[in-house]
C-alpha cells in the first residue's frame, strides 16, 4: 500500500501481533518451561513461570523409565524411511509426467489425489487384519510401508509441480549442447531438481513424524514412534506433568525447527499446488 505508515500505527500493530503470536505459541512455551520444573513445581498453584529451580532431571528420567531414545529412533526410521521409499517410487513417475505428459497424465494425477481423500477408518479393519496375519503389526517395516503409501500422492504431486517448473527449453538447450541422457541428468536436471526434491522430503518427514492414526493403531511397545509413546502418558500414575513436558519437548522440537524451515513448501505441498 502506498499510504505512509506512521510509527505509532506500526507500534500498535506490532504490539497486537506479538501479543496474539505469544498467546498462540504459549502452550508450546509452557510445555518447554514445565519440562525444566520439578513435578511439584509443575502442578503448583499459583503456577511458577520462570523463577523456579531449573533442572534437567525430567529428561534423564524420561529416557531411563521409558526408553525414549528407542521411540525417537522409531520415529526417525518411520519418517525418514517412508519418505525415502515414497521418493524412490514417486520421482520417476513425477518426472515422466512432467516431462513427457500424455493425455492421461492429468487423469492419473487426479486419481492419485483422490486416493488421499479416502478416510483411514475405511480401511482400518482390513489393514489391521492383514498386518496381523502377515506378522506386520508393531513392526517398523510395516509402518514404513503404510506411511510411504499414504503420503505417496502428496509426494508425487509436489515433485510434479516442482519438475513442471523446470523449463523444457533448458533440456532442449542441453541436448543442443551435446549432452547425452546421462550428462543431461547429472549436469542439468539433477541440480535443478534437487531443491524441489529436498522440499518434498522435508514436508513428508514432518507429516510422517506427526501422523497419529496408523501409528497408534498398528504399533504396541516395540515399533511405537513418539506419537504413540506420548499417548501412553494419557493414563499415567502419580505426578507426571514435568516428565510429560520433557518427553513432549523432545518429540516436537526437532520437527518444529524443520517445519520453520519449510513454511513455503508446506503451503504448496498441502494444497497440492493450488496455492503457492
Amino acid at each position: 500500500m502506498a499510504r505512509a505508515h506512521t510509527p505509532a500505527r506500526k507500534a500498535a500493530i506490532s504490539a497486537v501481533a506479538w501479543t496474539v503470536a505469544l498467546l498462540i505459541f504459549f502452550p508450546i512455551l509452557w510445555t518447554v518451561l514445565t519440562s525444566f520444573k520439578t513435578e511439584g513445581q509443575a502442578v503448583s498453584t499459583p503456577p511458577v513461570f520462570v523463577f523456579f529451580d531449573w533442572t534437567w532431571e525430567n529428561y534423564a528420567t524420561v529416557q531411563e523409565r521409558s526408553n525414549y531414545a528407542r521411540h525417537a529412533m522409531n520415529s526417525v526410521v518411520i519418517s525418514v524411511g517412508s519418505t525415502l521409499l515414497a521418493l524412490l517410487i514417486a520421482v520417476p513417475a513425477a518426472w515422466s509426467m512432467a516431462f513427457s505428459p500424455t493425455k492421461h497424465t492429468k487423469n492419473i494425477l487426479m486419481w492419485m489425489l483422490s486416493t488421499k481423500m479416502m478416510p483411514a477408518v475405511g480401511v482400518l479393519v482390513p489393514i489391521y487384519l492383514l498386518f496381523r496375519d502377515w506378522g506386520l503389526l508393531d513392526t517398523l517395516g510395516g509402518l514404513v510401508a503404510v506411511m510411504a503409501l499414504i503420503n505417496l500422492p502428496i509426494v508425487v504431486w509436489m515433485l510434479y509441480t516442482y519438475f513442471k517448473e523446470i523449463p523444457g527449453e533448458i533440456l532442449e538447450a542441453a541436448r543442443m549442447d551435446g549432452a547425452g541422457l546421462s550428462a543431461e541428468i547429472i549436469h542439468v536436471l539433477a541440480p535443478m531438481a534437487v531443491p524441489g526434491i529436498a522440499s518434498t522430503m522435508l514436508l513428508n518427514v514432518i507429516l510422517a513424524w506427526n501422523e497419529a492414526f496408523w501409528t497408534l493403531n498398528l504399533t504396541a511397545a516395540k515399533a511405537a514412534p513418539l506419537t504413540a509413546f506420548i499417548a501412553s502418558y494419557s493414563s499415567p500414575e502419580g505426578l507426571f506433568w514435568a516428565k510429560l513436558s520433557a518427553a513432549s519437548t523432545m518429540a516436537i522440537l526437532p520437527i518444529l525447527v524443520l517445519g520453520w524451515f519449510s513454511q513455503k513448501q508446506l503451503v504448496r505441498g498441502l494444497t497440492f499446488g493450488a496455492v503457492k
Partner: protein
C-alpha cells in the same frame, strides 16, 4: 560452412499436419528469417532443423549430408532460445563452457574460447555471476555466447528478442547483425516481427499455416509480394487493400496500395475522403482516412502535413505502385 536444405519436410502432431511439406534452400553464410503470424509453424520448422522435433517425412540436409535422423547434438548447430534457456545453477562461465565440456574439449582450450566469446559479447565482468543476477540483455548475450563457442555450422534463433524491451530489442538486433557480419556464419532466425525480418535478413521466408508463402530478399518481398498474405504482412503501416469498384477500375479483384505510395492533396485526386485520425510523428504524418468508395485507408506523408480530423483530402496512388490481386489472392502480372 553451413548450408541447409529441406526437401519435402513434413510434421504432424497426432494426425494434424502442422507442416504439410516444405522445400527450402539455405546457403552458407546466409541470414535467413522465418516470419509469420503466431501458429504459422515457423518455430516448428526451426525445431525440425535443430532436431528437437522428429520430421514426419522428407529430408533435412546439412552441408549436403542427410541429417534427418541425427540427434540435435550431432547436427553441428547451435540454438538461442526464446527464454534463453540458461542453466540457472551454473555461472555465466560454466554456461558458456557447457557445450565444450560436453564435447570433451580440454580445459585450457575451453578457457580460451569462453574468454574469447565473453570479450566479444562484453560479458567478461560477469563470468562469475549466475543467470539470475543478469539483466535480460546480458542473459541474451550469454545464450549467444554459449552458441558461439561451439563454432557451429549454423546458428538457430527462436524469437530471441521477444522478451526484451523495445530499446534493448533495437540494440540487440544490431548486435546480432554485426555478429553475423563478423562470423560470416549461417543464421536462421524466427520472428513474428516483420521489422526484425526486414532489417536483419538476407532472405526472408514468409510462412502461413505451415506452408511457405514467399521466399525472397526484404526488398523483393516489399516490391513484389506474391500474394495478398505477403502484401499485408510485410510493410508498416500495413498495405491498404481495396476491393470493389476501385479495384475493378484497375482490372483486379483487390488492389493494394502502401500508405507511403499515396499522394495527398487538398484539391483533387482519385479518391476523396475525410480524415478520422491524424498521427503526427514529425518525420512522417499518418492519416487515417475514410475514403469514398474505398473504405478506411491509411496514408503516410513525409514530413508534417497540416490536416486534422474532419478535413477533406484527396488521395492518388503513385503510378506503378498499385498491386493487383486476382480472385485467388495471387498477384496479377
Amino acid at each position: 560452412m553451413g548450408a541447409i536444405a529441406l526437401q519435402g519436410v513434413k510434421k504432424s502432431f497426432g494426425g494434424v499436419a502442422v507442416i504439410p511439406g516444405v522445400d527450402l534452400e539455405i546457403e552458407n553464410g546466409e541470414f535467413v528469417v522465418f516470419v509469420g503470424p503466431s501458429g504459422c509453424g515457423k518455430s516448428t520448422l526451426l525445431r525440425l532443423i535443430a532436431g528437437l522435433e522428429d520430421a514426419s517425412g522428407g529430408m533435412i540436409r546439412i552441408n549436403g549430408k542427410d541429417a534427418t535422423a541425427l540427434p540435435p547434438a550431432r547436427r553441428g548447430l547451435a540454438m538461442v532460445f526464446q527464454s534463453y534457456a540458461l542453466y540457472p545453477h551454473m555461472s555465466v562461465y560454466r554456461n558458456i563452457a557447457f557445450p565444450l565440456k560436453m564435447a570433451g574439449v580440454d580445459k585450457a582450450e575451453i578457457d580460451r574460447k569462453v574468454r574469447g566469446a565473453a570479450a566479444t559479447l562484453n560479458l567478461t565482468d560477469y563470468l562469475d555471476r549466475r543467470p539470475g543476477q543478469l539483466s535480460g540483455g546480458q542473459r541474451q548475450r550469454v545464450a549467444i555466447g554459449r552458441a558461439i563457442v561451439r563454432e557451429p555450422a549454423a546458428f538457430l534463433f527462436d524469437e530471441p528478442l521477444s522478451n526484451l524491451d523495445a530499446a534493448l530489442r533495437v540494440s540487440m538486433r544490431l548486435e546480432i547483425s554485426e555478429l553475423h557480419q563478423k562470423l560470416g556464419a549461417t543464421m536462421v532466425y524466427v520472428t513474428h516481427d516483420q521489422v526484425e525480418a526486414m532489417t536483419m535478413a538476407d532472405k526472408i521466408v514468409v510462412l502461413n499455416r505451415g506452408a511457405i508463402e514467399q521466399v525472397g530478399s526484404p526488398l523483393e518481398l516489399y516490391r513484389s509480394p506474391a500474394n495478398l498474405f505477403v502484401a499485408a504482412f510485410i510493410g508498416s503501416p500495413k498495405m491498404n487493400l481495396i476491393e470493389g469498384a476501385a479495384a475493378a477500375a484497375h482490372g483486379a479483384n483487390t488492389i493494394g496500395v502502401r500508405p507511403e505510395h499515396l499522394t495527398l492533396s487538398r484539391e483533387a485526386g482519385d479518391w476523396k475522403g475525410v480524415v478520422t485520425i491524424a498521427e503526427h510523428l514529425g518525420s512522417d504524418t499518418f492519416l487515417h482516412v475514410e475514403g469514398e468508395g474505398v473504405g478506411a485507408v491509411t496514408a503516410r506523408v513525409s514530413g508534417e502535413f497540416g490536416a486534422g480530423p474532419g478535413d477533406t483530402v484527396h488521395m492518388t496512388p503513385e503510378a506503378g505502385r498499385v498491386y493487383r490481386f486476382g480472385a485467388d489472392g495471387k498477384a496479377m502480372a
